[in-house]
Amino acid sequence: MNEKQQGIAPLVQVDQLAVTFYTPTGVVHAVRDASFEIMRGQVLGLVGESGCGKSTAAFAIMGYLPGIHRVEGHISFEGRDITEMSASEVRELRGNRIAMVYQDPATSLNPSMRVGPQVEESLQTNLNLSSQQAHERTVRLFESVGLADPANIGRRYPHELSGGMQQRIVIALALACDPDLLIMDEPTTGLDVTTEATILDLVVDLKRRVRAGILFVSHNLGVIARVADRVAVMYAGQVIEQAPVRELFKNTHHPYTAGLLSCVPRPISEDEVTTKLISIPGVVYEASRDDIDACLFASRCPMVQDQCQEEAPEMFNAGNEHESGCFFWNDVQKGLWEKEIPREEIDHEGSLVLTAENLRKFYGRWQRKYLFFGPRVKPPVRALVDADFDVRSGRTLGVVGESGSGKTTMARTVAGLTPRNRGELKLRGEDLAPEVEERNRQQRDALRMVFQNPTASLNPQLPISHTILRSLRKLAGLNRKESRERAAELLQAVGLDPAYLGRLPGELSGGEQQRVALAGAFAGNAEIIIADEAVSSLDVSVQAQVLDLLGKHQREEGTSYIFISHDLGVVRYVSDDIMVLYAGHVAESGPADSVLKPPMHPYTEALLSAAPVPDPDAKPTTIRLPGAVPTLLERFQGCFFAGRCPRKLGPICDQTPPPERVGPDSHDHVIYCHITVEELKAMQQ
C-alpha cells in the first residue's frame, strides 16, 4: 500500500510544530518539535508516555487547544495551513473534513439525547440531508461500525449502551460526514481488553474501507502494533523516532523506543517470564522546563555520550523510511535495556494466611415500588457471589477479569472497606470482622492496601510524610522520633530521597507517588498487601519500578499480595496463583502456570486472546467476546458465562450451574465449566 502512495502529497503535514501553554502554574511546553505526515488510507500511530505531548499535537491539528497558548510551526491540511486559518474556516474543517474520537465515549455523547438523533443531527447540519435520508444513512453507519441491530439501536440513550457500544457510536458519529482525517485519541484506553480488541478490529477494518487518514494516539505499544502502518514516537514534546510499524519494532533506532518496548510485560509465550522487566530511570524532561541545546532524553539514556549533552540531535535518516533523533541511532541494540535477570519463581507452597469462604457482597437492597410498600421491583446488585480463595504466605494471588467482574469488590470486602454480606474471612485462623473499624490493631496492620490512583491515595494537602508517619504510629506503634527515622528508611527502600518527606504529593510524579503509597503499605508488618490496579495508571516505564519494589519486599519479608489487574501481562508477571473472576463468580483459579499455559476456561482463553501484543507480526487472535459483563441483578440459572461464551455447549449451559472441575496439572487448579478438562485441553492443541 505504501508503494502505491509514494509521490502522492500527504493529507496532513505537520512541520516543526510547537505548542506552548501559559497556565496559572507556569509555562508548559507541551509540544516542542513535532514533524510527521499522515497519508490517506494510512494509520499513523503516535505513541509515548503521558506528558509527552501526543494529545496536544492531535488537538493542534483540530485547531482545538484550551486556554492561553501559542502555536508555532505549520500544520498543512491538503496544502492549506491550519495555523493561519480563521476560526470559522477551522470550524468548517472540523465539522466536515476532520473528525475526532475521544478517550471517554460516555462524555462524547449527549446523555439526554437518543444516540440515533445525535448522528442524524450531525448529518443534517453538515451535509444538508433530509431527516429521512439522515436516518437511513445513520442505520448504514451503525451497521458499518459493527453494532448489532443497527435499525433499532438509535432509539437508545447512551447510558443504555455498554462502553464498547458507546465507542462504536462515537466512531459512527466521527465517520458520519466522510471525514478525510480521523483523529483517535486513546480510543480504547478506558475500555476492557475484550472490548478493546473488538474496537481495534474495527479500526483495522475501517482503514481498509474508508479513504481517510487516521491519526491514532495511544500510550500502549501493543495497541499501536495492532493498528498502525507508521509510528511516530514522542518524548518530551518531540518526535524522536518515526518509521513504518514493522521497521520500528524490529530495528529500533532510538534508546527511548527500545526502552519502552522492553518495559512491556509480554503476554503468554513460553520464555518471556524469565526476563526481568526494565524501567527507564528518572522522569520525562518536564514540560515546564525550557528547551536546551542537548538531547532531552540524555539524562535517562543508558548510552549517553558527551555529544548528547552539548547539542540537540536532529532527525537522522536511517533508511527504510526510518528516522531517528539519536546521534548514535546505529548503535541501538535490542538488548540495550534488558538485563536478563530472571524473575525468581517461588516454589514453596507457603502457609495459609488468609482464607475466604463463600464471600458475598450485594450492593443495595431490594427496592420496593412505593419506598417501603408495594411489590419488590429492583433487586440488589450481586457484585460478588460466594467466592472461595486462599492466600498463602510469600505468594502472590493475581486476580483478573473485566470491569464489573467483582475484582475491586473482592478487594474492598477483604480490606473491610465495604462490609461483606455473608461468608467467612479468616486471617491465620482468626475471624476478620466485616468492617475495618471493628478489626483490632494487629489485623489492621496485617492487611494493607495500595490503590489504583496514586494521586488520590495521598492527601493532596498534606506532606507525603503524613501517610507514612501515621501508619508507623498507628500500626507499628512507634513513637514520634522512631517513626521519623523509620520513615526515612522506608523512603530509601522504595528508591526515593528522604528529603521528599516534606514535599506535597502534587510535587511528585505518578510513579513517585505510588512508591510513597507503597512505603506506607510497607510501614507496618503487613502480611498481605492488596494491590488494586496498583500499576494500571502508571506509565509502562515506571510500572516496572513499582513491580520490582513489590517483588523485592516479598522476597525479603515474605509478604503475600493480592494483586488485582485487568492487564493479564502484568498479572502473569507477578502472580504465583491466579484467580479469574467473571460477573462476581470465580471462573477458574489455581497456580499461574496451570491457569494460563495453556488457558483452559473459555473466559480465560478469551481474555488472553484479547490482550494486545507489542509485535506487529503477531497473528491476530480470533476469539472475541461481544458485549460486556451483564448487570448482575438476577441469579444465573445456568453458567454465569453462558451469555457470552464462545464455546457454549448448548442448553445445558443455560440451565445448570457449571460443575467444579480439577485441572490436569494441579489439584489446586479449579475450573467451573460444563466442558470436561480433557476437551478443554484438546481445544488448545
Binding site: 509555562v27 475495618v436 492496601m449 492527601n459 498534606l462 506535597l504 502534587g506
Partner: protein, 308 residues
C-alpha cells in the same frame, strides 16, 4: 532562546503546610491575596475599598474629626460643608464621624457572624456527610427546616426572644448561615470521603474526627474560601438590616443601619443623612465582592511575566 522567568507562584498548599506556625500562614495568605488581587481589574478596585473599610473599622473612632455622640445643637440637619464634610443629623451630630466610628461594629459583627456560621456549618455538614445513612438524613432534614425560614424573620425571632445584644446578633447570623453552609460542606465531604486517602486513613484505624478534620477538611479550603466571601457580604447586609429594624446596636451608638432608619423622616429635607451610611454599606459589600472575585479570577490566570 527563551528568557528564564522567575516564577512567583501562589502556592496555596504551601500556606497550609505552614499550618503549625499560624502567623506565618496568615502573613503568607494576606500577601497572596494582595498579589493575586492586584492582578485583575476587579481586585485592583476591590482591594483598596476593603482596605479603607478595614482601617476605618480598626481606627475609625480615633480618625473621626468629632466625637460620634457629640451634639452640635446649633448645626442641626446641616448640609455638607467644610466644617461638617457630610453634614449633620437632627441632633447636630457629625455624620462623617458617625459613619467612621460605626464601621467597627458592623464589620466586626458581620465577620464574626459569618465565621461562626461557617464553623457551625462545617462541623454539622462534614459530620453528617461523613457519617451518612440515617443520621445524615435526619440532620439534613432539620437543616432544611431551619433553612425554610426567611433569614431576616429567623433573626427577628431570635433577637426579640433573647434580647438585643451584639453577641446575640453574631449568634443569630451564625445560626441562620449554618444550614446552607452545612449543605455545601456535606456534598464536598461526600465527594471526598470516597477518595483513596480517606480509605487508607480508615484502614490505618484513624478515629472519625481525625479523618474529618485532619484528612478531609484541608481539602475543602477552596470551597470554604468561596463560602466565606459570599457569606461575608450577606452578613453585612443582614447586620445592617437588623440595625435598620432597630434590633442591632442600640442608639445612640453609631450604626449604619440604624442611621439610615433614623434619617427616614428627613429624607427629602436632608438626604445626606441617609446617603452617607447607605454609601458606606454599599461600598463595603461591593468592595468585598470585587476583591473575592478578583482573587478567584487571578488564580486562573497565567503566571505574571510568562505571557508573551
Amino acid at each position: 532562546m527563551m528568557t528564564n522567568y522567575t516564577i512567583t507562584r501562589t502556592d496555596w498548599t504551601a500556606v497550609f503546610r505552614a499550618g503549625g506556625s499560624g502567623i506565618v500562614a496568615i502573613v503568607r495568605t494576606v500577601r497572596n491575596i494582595f498579589t493575586l488581587a492586584l492582578r485583575t481589574p476587579a481586585g485592583r478596585i476591590g482591594l483598596p475599598i476593603v482596605l479603607i473599610h478595614l482601617i476605618l473599622a480598626l481606627l475609625g473612632t480615633w480618625l473621626a474629626p468629632y466625637d460620634a455622640l457629640e451634639h452640635h445643637l446649633e448645626h442641626q440637619l446641616e448640609a455638607p460643608s467644610w466644617q461638617f464634610l457630610m453634614g449633620t443629623d437632627v441632633f447636630g451630630r457629625d455624620i462623617l464621624s458617625r459613619v467612621m466610628s460605626g464601621a467597627g461594629s458592623i464589620i466586626g459583627i458581620s465577620a464574626a457572624g459569618a465565621l461562626l456560621g461557617i464553623a457551625l456549618g462545617t462541623i454539622v455538614g462534614m459530620g453528617s456527610g461523613y457519617k451518612g445513612g440515617k443520621t445524615d438524613e435526619v440532620v439534613m432534614r432539620i437543616m432544611d427546616g431551619v433553612m425554610s425560614f426567611p433569614s431576616l424573620l429567623m433573626a427577628l425571632l431570635v433577637l426579640t426572644s433573647l434580647g438585643k445584644s451584639a453577641v446575640y446578633i453574631i449568634l443569630t447570623i451564625g445560626v441562620v448561615f449554618m444550614p446552607p453552609i452545612s449543605r455545601v460542606m456535606r456534598s464536598t465531604t461526600l465527594a471526598l470521603k470516597t477518595q483513596e486517602f480517606v480509605q487508607s486513613a480508615r484502614m490505618r484505624g484513624e478515629p472519625v474526627p481525625y479523618i474529618i478534620f485532619r484528612e478531609i477538611l484541608p481539602n475543602t479550603w477552596s470551597v470554604l474560601a468561596v463560602e466565606l466571601s459570599v457569606r461575608l457580604s450577606y452578613a453585612i447586609l443582614l447586620a445592617s438590616s437588623l440595625g435598620f429594624l432597630g434590633l442591632g446596636v442600640q442608639p445612640p451608638s453609631p450604626d449604619w443601619g440604624l442611621m439610615i432608619s433614623e434619617s427616614r423622616r428627613y429624607l427629602v429635607a436632608a438626604p445626606w443623612v441617609a446617603l452617607a451610611p447607605a454609601f458606606a454599606v454599599a461600598t463595603l459589600i461591593i468592595g468585598v465582592n470585587l476583591l473575592t472575585d478578583g482573587v478567584r479570577q487571578a488564580r486562573r490566570l497565567p503566571l505574571k511575566g510568562t505571557h508573551p
